[in-house]
């Protein structure tokens, strides 16, 4: 590897998991060994939680209940808007209500395997253990999960598993779980335990004497900067899929909080691991602003196919059965249409690359419900997927009951994120990272219905238990605006905003974002090559230079200025994109969502290189113009044996 793009630093390791006891006892052992904070002392301590999605909302609510003074920040008008709300399919839990052989160990095993052996065993096992508590908690909060006629909870199956362990609330599971957390959070706000900062965006982390002690935030309505201090800072700001411009993320989803924390010293782990979701509505035009996901649950009953012949432009219904290629069922008979996301996405890309794609530009495959409608009847299909079908019809103007849906993969989730240890603490003491914003539980590929599980596990159960070990040393000495670290952080943010507003160039922020996104999709998307990644890195550096010399940002900063907000986020995406490409370039193996064309089996499946790459790549930021430093965390597999994933 060329040493000009990065340098290698000391290895890093998680020292918090008690590996001296069997894996099934580690979580309870960790909780037992960790120090506690007595209720009287909790009142003296403040915790900042940034983000109000499943992870941030549940964490803020739980910490508020526990008696800490919590300050909660979010950029939208209400905590209920956080993008967890858009998760459709469901949430996994090892309840084994179906009596189909499920167990904590099986969920653990499936998740490690599904993550292509790039996740930490300890974290994943804990996730599987905690999963059952999440369902109990959500039901008690009034989350209206789907039920059977006997009044008990219903389950369905999801990609990458052979059991039915997914709990769901029609196609709006994320929404309902988020509202559960949101209501718990609002209850704590009403009780005065959580201070609320709506439409407020974190723009920097304040690190004092090596500890995370506060944040600089901007009130998006008045434009005013403010500083907030605490004994610990929790980031729950979600993923960075919007680096691709087009993704299934919300328009406002951004990487600024984690990226600026990264620049303050938090390591960024596995940034190249991005999940491309196979079932999204294809792109329809230049002006396209986002991509819409169709829940993976559709693959339970929908069959994916393309015409056998290239360039077959007949209407789908005119193509006879024997001229169709149900390529997932053909290539992966054991899992069929329910193979994990990375595999389904790449298979779709392959058939489109062969010229057999359907719809505009040949970038789409059919997801066909004709067989399901015949087998189950239209009312049953409507009951299961009605809202998704309506959404599809609304967006495309086509009726999915009459003609097959067209789908294409789209960026959906980022497995990478800030590096955290077993306690979910980053490399900056006092800064914890939860939910999609951290890297911890999904390895190189996330299984369906696991994101909701992880977000809520982190927020309700893990963080509130582990943060006490850190806070047991608190309260920490008081910090205020007079501290040099605080002044330096405020000055940095001020300078950046002034600079953005003073360039007054000729290109809009959105045009930079679109260009960056297209570049990332082409070279750091479903298939990556050495050559392509190098090309991308060169171009990203040019884009960054052009951005800082030619961007046009209007208005003032002392007002509601969405253009300015976007500009700051895109500036961070550009820097993050470069690190993603470097990470992707250095990992010369294929694993999960990271597919290097140079590393594949003769059948075209991902080929891992466990010898050389069974580690977490944790990147340390270095000032602009110098190469980032790679710290390796070796992954140890004691319970799940490394093997090539097979879904055939």
């Amino acid at each position: 590897m060329p040493l000009d793009l990065f340098t290698v630093g000391d290895p890093i390791a998680d020292t918090k998991a008690p590996t001296d006891v069997p894996i099934g006892e580690r979580w309870s052992e960790r909780r037992f060994r960790g120090r506690l904070v007595n209720p009287a002392n909790r009142r003296k301590m403040t915790v900042i939680v940034v983000g109000t999605g499943l992870a941030g909302g549940s964490a803020a609510a739980t910490l508020g209940e526990a008696g800490y003074k919590v300050k909660s920040f979010w950029y939208q008008d209400s905590p209920r808007r956080a993008h967890s709300v858009a998760a459709q399919g469901g949430i996994n839990a090892a309840k084994n209500y179906r009596n189909d052989g499920d167990s904590v160990h099986r969920l653990f095993y499936d998740t490690v395997k599904g993550g292509d052996f790039r996740a930490r065993e300890n974290n994943v096992h804990r996730l599987a253990e905690v999963s059952v508590n999440i369902i109990d908690q959500a039901v008690a909060q009034g989350v209206p999960f789907a039920r059977e006629y006997g009044g008990l909870l219903d389950n369905r199956s999801f990609g990458g598993t052979q059991v039915s362990r997914t709990f769901y609330a029609r196609g709006q599971t994320g929404q309902q779980l988020l509202y559960g957390a949101y209501q718990a959070l609002e209850r704590q706000m009403a009780a005065g335990n959580v201070e609320q900062y709506a439409r407020t965006e974190m723009l920097d982390l304040i690190v004092v004497d090596g500890r995370a002690r506060g944040i600089v935030a901007r009130d998006l309505v008045s434009g005013e900067l403010s500083t907030h201090y605490a004994d610990a800072v929790v980031l729950a700001t979600g993923g960075y899929g919007n680096v691709f411009y087009l993704s299934t993320n919300a328009k406002g989803s951004n990487a600024s909080a984690i990226w600026r924390a990264h620049k303050r010293g938090a390591y960024m782990a596995n940034p190249c691991y991005t999940q491309i979701h196979p079932t999204c509505i294809p792109v329809h035009g230049e002006y396209q602003s986002k991509l819409t996901l169709m829940s993976e649950s559709l693959r339970n009953d929908g069959r994916v196919w393309v015409p056998k012949e290239r360039g077959d432009t007949r209407d789908a219904r005119q193509i006879p059965e024997d001229e169709r290629d149900y390529f997932l069922e053909r290539r992966y008979p054991a899992f069929g249409n329910l193979v994990p996301r990375d595999i389904a996405s790449r298979a779709a890309k392959n058939v489109c690359d062969e010229g057999r794609g359907v719809g505009p530009g040949g970038l789409g495959v059919y997801l066909d419900f004709a067989e399901a409608i015949e087998r189950l009847g239209r009312p049953a299909v409507e009951a299961k997927y009605g809202n998704l079908f309506d959404m599809y019809a609304q967006i495309t103007g086509e009726d999915p009951y009459a003609t097959p849906m067209r789908i294409y993969p789209a960026v959906h989730y980022t497995m990478g994120g800030l590096w955290v240890d077993y306690d979910l603490q980053s490399t900056i003491p006092g800064m914890f990272v939860i939910g999609e914003a951290n890297f911890s539980d999904h390895g190189a590929n996330r299984l369906g219905a696991s994101a909701l599980m992880q977000g809520l596990a982190d927020g309700y159960f893990v963080l509130p238990s582990t943060i006490t070990e850190y806070l047991a040393d608190g309260p920490f000495p008081k910090v205020d605006d007079s501290h040099p670290a605080a002044q330096e952080a405020v000055q940095g943010v001020t300078d950046q905003i002034n600079q953005l507003l003073s360039i007054q160039g000729t290109r809009s922020v959105a045009s930079f974002h679109r260009e960056l996104g297209q570049l990332m999709w082409d070279y750091c998307g479903m298939e990556r090559t050495d050559e392509g990644l190098r090309k991308a890195i060169d171009r990203i550096q040019e884009i960054r230079q052009e951005f800082w010399s030619n961007v046009k940002v209007l208005g003032t900063w002392g007002s509601f200025n969405q253009n300015l907000e976007h500009a700051g986020r895109v500036a961070d995406f550009i820097e993050l994109a470069e690190l993603m490409c470097i990470d992707a370039l250095h990992r010369r193996e294929s694993c999960g969502g990271h597919f290097r064309a140079e590393s594949q089996t003769p059948e075209g499946e991902a080929l891992r290189d466990d010898e050389n790459f069974a580690y977490v790549a944790a990147w340390e930021w270095t000032p602009q113009g110098t190469a980032p430093v790679l710290h390796r965390e070796d992954l140890v597999y004691e319970y799940v044996h490394l093997a090539q994933r097979s879904y055939k």
């Binding site: 009130d219 403010s226 001020t494 002392g558």
Partner: protein, 234 residues
């Protein structure tokens, strides 16, 4: 640029006012009283078909209702007071909700279109005002005779004939009665909703019932004046 440490709450909630739902309950309950009265009133009106004596006799009976247990027109006056209270409460609730709506949206839309609003629901407020004006005229005309050519001294039947042999008067009366009908159509449905008695299962029934009651009352009230106008009663 100033750096501030802000507090969370942007705006303190205003002091509690009388619950908006309470106002609607007042509206619903007073409305129900008035509907019951209208049913009785309509039945009384239809006595006109039984002839002058029967009608006047009915009118006298109303004034001596409850005799001899109650002296004079006590019972009638009790009814009148209840009605007056119901009307006052109904108007108070309406005005109060109207003002609340005004405060809740002081600046209207440049363009606003209705999706669901029926003509009946849209005319509840101005319709109500017109109905109130009509009721006053109606009392002056037929109860007190102040604006009636037969005057206060004529018999109730004569006052009725005098009024309804005049096409203008019948037209005014008819318009008002149709307004009342629409008011009832929405009002009856609205009252079941306000009193928490409507649900998906009952919705169709409630809607039919509201339409049926409104229609029967409207037709019942129109029957007498038109029969007089066309000389079927004299």
């Amino acid at each position: 640029m100033t750096v501030t440490t802000q507090s969370g709450q942007r705006r303190a909630p205003k002091a509690a006012k009388t619950s908006s739902v309470f106002k609607k309950v007042v509206m619903a309950v007073s409305g129900i009283i008035l509907v019951l009265y209208l049913i009785a009133h309509m039945i009384g009106n239809l006595k006109a078909f039984a002839g002058r004596d029967e009608f006047n006799h009915y009118s006298d009976w109303l004034r001596t209702l409850g005799n001899p247990a109650l002296p004079g027109s006590t019972a009638l006056w009790i009814i009148r007071l209840v009605l007056l209270a119901a009307v006052a409460a109904h108007i108070w609730a309406a005005v109060s909700l109207w003002r609340q709506a005004k405060r809740a949206r002081p600046h209207g839309y440049v363009t606003k279109k209705a999706n669901a609003q029926s003509y009946a629901s849209r005319t509840m407020r101005w319709g109500g005002v017109i109905i109130a004006a009509f009721v006053i005229w109606h009392l002056l005309d037929l109860t007190w005779g102040a604006v009636n050519s037969e005057g206060h001294d004529g018999s109730p039947f004569d006052r009725m004939l005098a009024s309804f042999q005049n096409p203008v008067s019948v037209a005014f009366y008819a318009i008002a009665v149709i307004l009342v009908g629409m008011h009832l159509r929405h009002g009856i449905w609205s009252a079941t909703q306000t009193l928490g008695q409507s649900n998906r299962r009952r919705e169709v029934t409630v809607n039919y019932a509201a339409t049926a009651i409104a229609t029967v009352l409207t037709l019942g009230f129109l029957l007498t004046p038109f029969s007089i106008l066309f000389g079927l009663i004299d």
